[in-house]
């Protein structure tokens, strides 16, 4: 019933507007079309200048309302992202000036040069000097933007530092999985054909490869503060995208074509809670490439913490190999034979006798 009422009201509004419009047409015939036209011209000229003023005020007000909600007041949470923030500010400055000048000229001209009987339009078909001016000036400004932009772009997309921690992140419908290389610092090989859900090998890890035996498989990402981290990005099924808005980073996850990105976290999660004033703050991984019906729920969490906490967390994780094949867990057996060796020793022995 309520809906019918809404429909009736909407129809009524349309009918009223339509009738007014029709009536105004009759009025214009009575008043004389020339007179009505001039009157309309005045009204619309005035509305244009009002629109300009209210619009510029509205743009300022919108900024007041929402700038605080963007991620920019807190600054980038990664060292590399600072360059992107700087680039943004440079671009806003340049385009902002152009925006205000051109919009003001557009609506001001519309208002000022509206039809009048006392004026005549000025025959002004071209002027080479003017045209050269507004070819070269934009070209100069754009060159500046391109130079800055590409400088930052090559820095950000360049090779990751050698000491960077490597974490593999794999997207699938509709979640993220991480893999840490373990104590040997190397990720084991993968092959999608080895995917086996019942056994739990959901990433298709090649457990014939000894480098995979100490790899950790987690659903959360932990990162140490201040150390460069390189993400190796994979997808199982369709294209996903690792979006890290706080770190200003983004890279597609493409099945069959691994991609990478790297950055250096600047603030721990705890620090960000203070900076944002939001006790629930978490670094989120958003999927930024439509990937199916659960696209919007493909959320991952990154915890940035001190190196000590990070190492503690790593130590608390159990290698996937031992979870999937408990019988192969060498730590028990080996510890009986050699108790005073380093922790990598049992792995080395296993390499010889898989």
């Amino acid at each position: 019933m309520k809906e019918l009422l809404y429909v009736a009201i909407t129809v009524m509004v349309f009918v009223v507007i339509f009738q007014i419009a029709k009536a105004s047409e009759y009025v214009s015939v009575l008043k004389g079309e020339e007179k009505t036209r001039k009157q309309n011209n005045k009204i619309n000229g005035f509305l244009f200048i009002t629109f300009l003023i209210l619009g510029l005020f509205g743009a300022w007000y919108c900024n007041e309302l929402y700038y605080g909600k963007t991620l920019f007041p807190q600054g980038s949470a990664s060292v590399e992202g600072e360059k992107i923030d700087l680039m943004l500010y440079i671009t806003i400055a340049v385009t902002g000036v152009v925006f205000v000048i051109t919009q003001v000229l557009l609506f001001w001209f519309a208002f000022k040069y509206q039809e009048s009987d006392t004026k005549k339009a000025y025959y002004f078909p071209h002027n080479t000097k003017l045209e050269l001016l507004w070819t070269t000036v934009p070209a100069i400004f754009l060159t500046i933007l391109v130079v800055f932009g590409l400088k930052f772009w090559f820095k950000i997309t360049g090779d990751a530092p050698k000491e960077a921690i490597v974490v593999e992140i794999t997207g699938h419908q509709f979640a993220w999985d991480m893999r840490y290389p373990g104590s040997d610092g190397k990720l084991g090989k993968k092959n999608y054909k080895l995917y086996n859900n019942p056994s739990g090998n959901t990433l298709g890890v090649d457990f014939e490869d000894p480098e995979s035996w100490d790899d950790l498989h987690t659903t959360e990402m932990h990162l140490p503060l201040g150390k460069p981290v390189k993400l190796v990005i994979n997808a199982m099924d369709v294209i996903h995208d690792v979006g890290l808005p706080h770190f200003r980073m983004k890279m597609d996850a493409v099945p069959g074509i691994p991609t990478t990105l790297w950055f250096t976290p600047k603030y721990t999660t705890a620090e960000m809670k203070k900076r944002t004033g939001n006790p629930n703050f978490v670094y989120e991984i958003s999927c930024d490439q439509i990937c199916g019906k659960g696209h919007f729920s493909m959320r991952g969490i990154i915890t940035v913490e001190s190196e000590a906490d990070y190492n503690k967390w790593l130590a608390s994780q159990k290698p996937e190999y031992f979870t999937l094949f408990p019988s192969k867990n060498p730590l028990k057996k080996e510890s009986v034979e050699t108790d005073s060796t380093t922790s990598t020793k049992p792995m080395a022995q296993l390499t010889k006798n898989p």
């Binding site: 349309f14 309302l65 943004l88 557009l106 339009a121 999608y192 099924d237 490439q289 199916g292 696209h295």
Partner: protein, 600 residues
């Protein structure tokens, strides 16, 4: 010599035309349905486009309901949509289907076919002085392939698994694998077949437009005397003819991957627990093929709006367009550059950073011809004597939106910034303003300006002004704040943001945007009412040249028949922008140059 021959054929046609009219009346079927008159075909494109625009717009209103309040239920939705809106709540699959169809419909069916199809058909013969298109038959087929594409796309809405739902860019593997998404089942095949038909339509049309412009201009109508509308429509057709076939090939390969077991785009995939046998393909290859059309497509949509706005700004400022040659040159530059920037949609696909840098440079280069156009439009207004006809209002609105949306392109085209902004609401704001709303403004400007020529009647002025003001204010209210959502990293194509710590504090804004979107949609209904009511009941046009314009279409009778001019086609003696020259308000193109006339 060629002009002489053309004139001869023209003479011949005049005769043939008179002969034709004398002997047999056109039937309803040949006049309104299978018409070969370019003016009727234009109207067919326009009306079909309006119907599609209504459907596409309605879809956006429905999915904006979901974004306004993800927890609300609307029982009436279930009445209309059935299991797609179980319990009055739009289901995610159907949300994505609506988003996908909204994009597909508006980009291709409305702003390509509806805009180019209408105005290229209507204006090219009338403004260059031709009796019809080079091939009226191909022209008719162009519409009917579009109609066929429309029917197939429409039918995909009614299949059980729903229409395509992988976004209008239909990236595989999502669009290639039925296991990955409901919408990638039969709905996707229908989408691809419909697009193939659409591309055929677009090619038939485009070839015809190019041939007509190059070969059938009346005597004296040299290329540099063509109105800017014709230049813009010419470059649009060139863009379409050179880029649409690439999408066609991309779509056919995708059909093969879907149905014949090939692996053009597929490799290393485990979907829904199933290990796929496909090996060796590249998902990124499709994106290259898609955007090789996809980017020129943006200009296919935008150039006609630019051309018509140039014409309308000049006519209603009562001043020549400023820098005609620079306007043509910048259209040409945009056309060339449009082919060389496609990978700026792919900065974060793992593209080689060096290759990316080349695309940054080429992308930002487009800003130069765009800046030239903007400043030339501003100078056209300067010291004019401006009449605010509804068409003029929309043309001014077009310039404003083109500035706003064009400038945010400088953000996205710069790869370093694109890393953060890619696939966020910033992108939505950018392309809706610059290509969506701006092109719509061009379309509206064109409809308001040439309506008297199309139907011999005027639209209601009051409704037109209401339509303009609600639309421009509403468009800015909807899309301006979206830039802020984008800066916050809010991703596109999310059904629900409420579980996201980073994005959930824009709830109030999303609600506001949805309400404004509904108001703007209502204003478009006003336009549609005005449009159809005025065809039969509008005030009749009583003068040949209601806007005092220079171009040739206003030398035809108020309601021109098939063949456009009852007698000879007028000869052209000057460019179309002799306004305010030598103290005369306007000098039409067919007026011979006087001895005492000054040169410009």
């Amino acid at each position: 010599m060629s002009t002489a021959i053309l004139n001869e054929t023209a003479q011949h046609e005049v005769h043939g035309e008179a002969h034709h009219e004398h002997h047999h009346q056109e039937t309803f079927l040949t006049k309104y349905i299978f018409s070969q008159d370019h003016k009727m075909i234009a109207k067919q494109f326009l009306v079909t486009g309006i119907i599609w625009a209504f459907i596409g717009g309605l879809f956006s209103v429905v999915f904006r309901l979901q974004l306004a309040d993800p927890n609300a239920t609307y029982p009436f939705l279930e009445d209309f949509l059935g299991h797609w809106a179980k319990g009055g709540k739009l289901q995610p699959e159907f949300y994505y289907a609506l988003v996908t169809m909204h994009g597909t419909i508006l980009v291709f069916f409305v702003l390509t076919a509806g805009l180019s199809g209408t105005f290229a058909n209507f204006l090219i013969p009338l403004q260059i002085g031709a009796r019809d298109m080079a091939s009226p038959l191909l022209n008719m087929l162009s519409y009917w392939f579009f109609f066929l594409a429309s029917i197939i796309m429409l039918s995909s809405l009614f299949v059980q698994t729903g229409p395509a739902s992988g976004g209008w860019t239909i990236y595989p593997p999502l669009s290639a694998l039925g296991e990955a998404s409901q919408g990638s089942k039969i709905g996707m095949d229908l989408w691809l077949v419909s697009m193939a038909m659409f591309i055929v339509s677009s090619l038939l049309g485009g070839l015809n437009y190019i041939t007509t412009i190059l070969n059938m201009r009346t005597k004296g109508m040299s290329m540099t005397r063509m109105p800017l509308t014709i230049w813009a429509l010419f470059f649009t057709a060139v863009l379409g003819v050179l880029s649409f076939p690439v999408l066609l090939s991309g779509a056919i390969l995708l059909l093969f991957d879907r149905n014949l077991g090939t692996s053009f785009y597929l490799s290393d995939i485990v979907v829904a627990g199933k290990i796929m046998p496909n090996e060796g393909g590249s998902a990124i290859l499709f994106q290259h093929l898609f955007w090789f059309l996809g980017h020129p497509e943006v200009y296919i949509i935008l150039l006609p709006a630019m051309g018509m706005s140039s014409e309308i700004l000049s006519v209603n400022s009562r001043k020549p367009i400023f820098g005609y040659m620079a306007m043509v040159g910048s259209l040409f530059a945009i056309t060339i550059l449009a082919f060389l920037v496609w990978a700026h949609h792919m900065f974060v696909t793992g593209l080689n950073p060096f290759l990316g840098s080349v695309f940054v440079l080429l992308t930002l280069l487009i800003a130069v011809p765009s800046a030239i156009k903007v400043f030339n439009w501003l100078t056209t207004l300067w010291r004019g004597n401006i009449r605010f006809t509804p068409a003029m209002m929309f043309a001014i609105g077009f310039v404003s939106l083109f500035i706003s949306g064009g400038l945010t392109g400088i953000f996205l085209g710069n790869s370093a910034l694109d890393i953060h902004l890619h696939d966020t609401y910033f992108v939505i704001a950018h392309f809706h303003i610059v290509m969506g709303v701006a092109s719509f403004f061009g379309l509206f400007a064109g409809v308001y300006h040439w309506y008297p020529k199309m139907f011999g009647r005027y639209l209601n002025n009051t409704l037109s002004y209401i339509h303009f003001w609600i639309t421009i204010v509403g468009a800015y209210l909807i899309f301006w704040p979206m830039h802020y959502e984008g800066l916050a990293g809010m991703p596109r194509r999310y059904y629900d943001f409420s579980n996201w710590e980073s994005f959930k504090n824009f709830g109030g804004l999303n609600q506001f945007i949805s309400i404004i979107a509904m108001l703007v949609f209502a204003a478009q209904i006003l336009f549609i009412i005005n449009f159809f009511y005025s065809i039969w009941k509008g005030r009749k046009v009583t003068t040949l040249n209601p806007w005092n314009a220079n171009t040739l279409e206003w030398t035809t009778p108020i309601r021109p028949g098939h063949g456009n001019w009852p007698g000879d086609i007028p000869e052209v003696h000057r460019w179309p922008y002799d306004y305010a020259k030598d103290g005369k308000d306007f000098i039409p193109q067919d007026v011979p140059v006087g001895d005492d006339e000054s040169k410009h």
